[in-house]
Symmetry: C2
Subunit: 477 residues, 2 copies
């Protein structure tokens, strides 16, 4: 019974992308629903992907001088309210604790939707002198935002993330750290998740509540929608003034610190699914694949087949994340399952091949098969994993480039957004009302003002006023 | 200014152990207070210890077939109430969320104090057949218990931990897993934290709310109080019946699963502090020391001293967690700081020693110094770290053994508990009223009924009725 469910056909992505996504998440056993509305279970296979993301990103953080800490999950109402823009942005979507044990709390506290206010409170006591700066702290934790519509990984009431919070002596240092962390995110997405991203700045309308500037990395999903995949904020000294975070400089003068924060979340897993997946299920980049190689014995009842499988398993384990499927399911079922779970390589080990001293390797990304001598297996697997990692990136980049179009005027813009989707590059006047009009008329939002600006014309694609910035537009998750 | 604070004298542990503990936690920069009552900040140095605990314990879990998952932090009231004993145990100390965003919730939800109910709800949908069993899942997360009195690491309203939850086909499998995880905890405490523990079973009074049996590891702190350091629970099929977790066995009959759960928390850091610390501050076992070796240049303004320090740093980094203190603080200050933070080894590098091709190594645990040639440094550091790890365990074990006493009668019992503290081994009738009387009269609780039973006599140390079990008693955190 349990067998049948897994290999059921999933919805084709071209028929119904949203349903395809839901099917993949469920059938690859990444998450499950719970009795807690809007919250998901992350199952072992999904969590193993998150652990690989965490480990590799955390290594990059540590190289960049980041130190991990842990702050409380609760924020007293009075603390949340200290910075005006911030509380306006978050108060409508927080969960409030009003009762502790058997008694009403004197002040209600919310479950953190993000921890700027807690870090500010902490830094206001922690920082005294220029010698204490910078502080570059990060925490891995879960946060809560009381969303109405939820989807696994993309939007849920509770999600896992990391949030970095830093304080610096000067505006220049804060700006440098904001950009440094954005670059770490971008490199990580491209090198580890094989997901190309556009780096740029958010408009005033789209920036984080309380930030002076928000930088973002934006990726394009298979269905032509954008995914904001990570953000890095420069707060200037706004929070510092609201929370009184001051330090004594070298001349014994009191100065306000300059702050940043930056985060990525389990949303990245949603990105991996929607960038690389296909109609057979998940396709995982080898660097975040919990299982990189699945060994599948063929005619495993025959003498020597299981022995050889186990021998290869022991050998390959030294270099790869590898498993052998020695259950009594049929090879066809095992293949379908390995494909559904996006395992990059399958190695088929049958009696005839064993006699010939070889096995068949099959790639998940393009289905190509090749026969490899046992003596060459480990070397060839390493090469193939490397190649898959690169190919997935190239394929995703080609898809994004093919689906990034220039709109010189409003007719072109509406034609693209209604008939083709994808990213639209266009000139914009910089006026927020115009930005709102574009969104209301088309559903497309400003994804970012890319660091790499191009001059596509002199006037705004929508209102015709003088253009200030080249912007990426798109519908987004 | 910041300099002075750190080297201030801390309270002597013999004068006021509780104050000594608070001083060490603060001055070694492990935690700090927050504006959130009863919750702590875990600062970088404290969190780095937790990361080392996590990483090494998680490796042992994975070897034992444990898979990590993540379940929601919220439990609807109706779910918490499904198992009668469990809700009675936890309802009085949970935090209740009653409002999400701007509206009242239709049903209040609590922040998880522990996740048995969530895992049961999950398993009731997940498990169908004997083929699905066992499931051996764990999560690393934070939990909330609305405590009145709090102390860093030992008792706080929110704390970090791991909680494993498993389901099995048979009672035997569940019992075996319960004991297996207790053994993993015990080995981890002894081999990694250098903290000897007594393994045993909790009495009915002290067992976990809803469990059939609770096993525990109990450690003795420097002040003679016990610390429950980890627990492993066998639930039998009680929760399974309350939540309807059934599977179809090989004969197609519906059977209830048998369950376990087990956890350790940041409390272990409190244990490390109170087992190994001394009047100069923290003493860390090398395996959980974020910095194992601190290089301290002497007369660092002299030519070649900083160069040599940096050269050694680069070399030693390959094998150890090592840092160099090249700030402009005095060597004496640097020594005191390294000692306060419990860094196992200090290497002093001065001009005269450099000329002689050698450095001075000083051990944190016993203050012994030795001169070592640069060419032998790495080898000697490895030996010394190994020796410190073993010595700390031996010292802690000698302390525990010296402070574990047999009480044959009630006079001996009260004499020990009032004048000597430590663990008391005594015979007990098994009657809960007698156990309550002992606690009320002396403040001592049953720590556990050790697996290694001894026959110390035929009658209960308190009431004189026939004895059933040898028990460890003690006052405890």
């Amino acid at each position: 019974m349990a067998e049948k469910k897994k290999v059921e056909q999933i919805t084709s992505m071209d028929v119904d992308f949203a349903q395809w996504y839901t099917d993949v998440v469920r059938k690859a056993e990444l998450t499950d629903y719970t009795s807690v509305k809007g919250c998901m279970v992350i199952k072992p296979y999904g969590y193993a992907i998150w652990e690989l993301i965490q480990r590799q990103l955390d290594d990059r953080f540590k190289e960049a001088g980041v130190e991990n800490v842990y702050l409380p999950m609760f924020i007293p109402e009075s603390l949340l309210q200290k910075e005006k823009d911030h509380v306006e942005g978050f108060a409508p979507e927080v969960a409030w604790v009003t009762k502790g044990g058997l008694s009403e709390l004197p002040e209600k506290i919310c479950v953190r939707p993000t921890s700027e206010t807690l870090f500010c409170d902490f830094y206001s006591k922690e920082v005294e002198s220029y010698r204490d700066l910078p502080k570059v702290y990060n925490q891995w934790c879960s946060v809560v935002r009381w969303e109405k519509e939820t989807r696994p990984f993309l939007r849920s009431r509770e999600f896992l993330w990391q949030e970095g919070h830093t304080v610096h002596a000067t505006a220049e240092d804060a700006e440098a750290r904001t950009v440094q962390m954005l670059n770490i995110y971008a490199d990580f997405c491209e090198e580890v998740l094989a997901m190309p991203v556009i780096k740029g700045r958010k408009t005033e309308k789209e920036k984080f509540a309380g930030a002076e500037a928000t930088y973002t990395i934006e990726a394009l999903m298979h269905d032509g929608k954008g995914l904001q995949s990570g953000t890095s904020h420069n707060f200037g000294d706004g929070f510092a003034k609201a929370f009184g975070i001051q330090y004594q400089d070298k001349d014994n003068k009191l100065q306000y610190v300059h702050q940043t924060s930056w985060g990525v979340s389990t949303r990245l897993i949603g990105g991996i699914i929607m960038v690389h997946g296909d109609d057979n299920g998940l396709v995982l980049p080898p660097k975040v694949a919990p299982v990189q190689v699945m060994l599948v014995p063929i005619q495993q009842a025959k003498e020597g087949v299981l022995d050889k499988t186990n021998e290869l398993l022991a050998e390959l384990k030294k270099d790869f994340r590898v498993k052998a499927d020695t259950t009594d399911k049929s090879p066809g079922y095992k293949f379908a399952e390995q494909e559904m779970r996006g395992i990059p390589l399958r190695v088929e080990i049958g009696p005839r091949d064993i006699a010939a001293g070889q096995a068949v390797i099959c790639r998940r990304d393009n289905g190509e098969k090749e026969t490899v001598a046992f003596t060459e297996l480990s070397k060839r697997i390493a090469e193939l994993l490397d190649d898959i990692q690169k190919s997935l990136y190239e394929k995703a980049k080609a898809h994004r480039d093919a689906n990034t179009r220039v709109a010189k005027n409003w007719d072109e813009f509406t034609d693209i957004i209604n008939n083709k989707q994808g990213f639209i590059k266009a000139m914009w006047c910089g006026d927020q009302d115009c930005e709102i009009d574009i969104k209301e008329e088309t559903g497309a939002t400003t994804r970012c003002m890319p660091f790499e600006q191009e001059n596509l014309g002199d006037v705004c694609v929508h209102c015709g006023k003088p253009a200030k910035k080249m912007v990426y537009f798109g519908r987004a998750y």
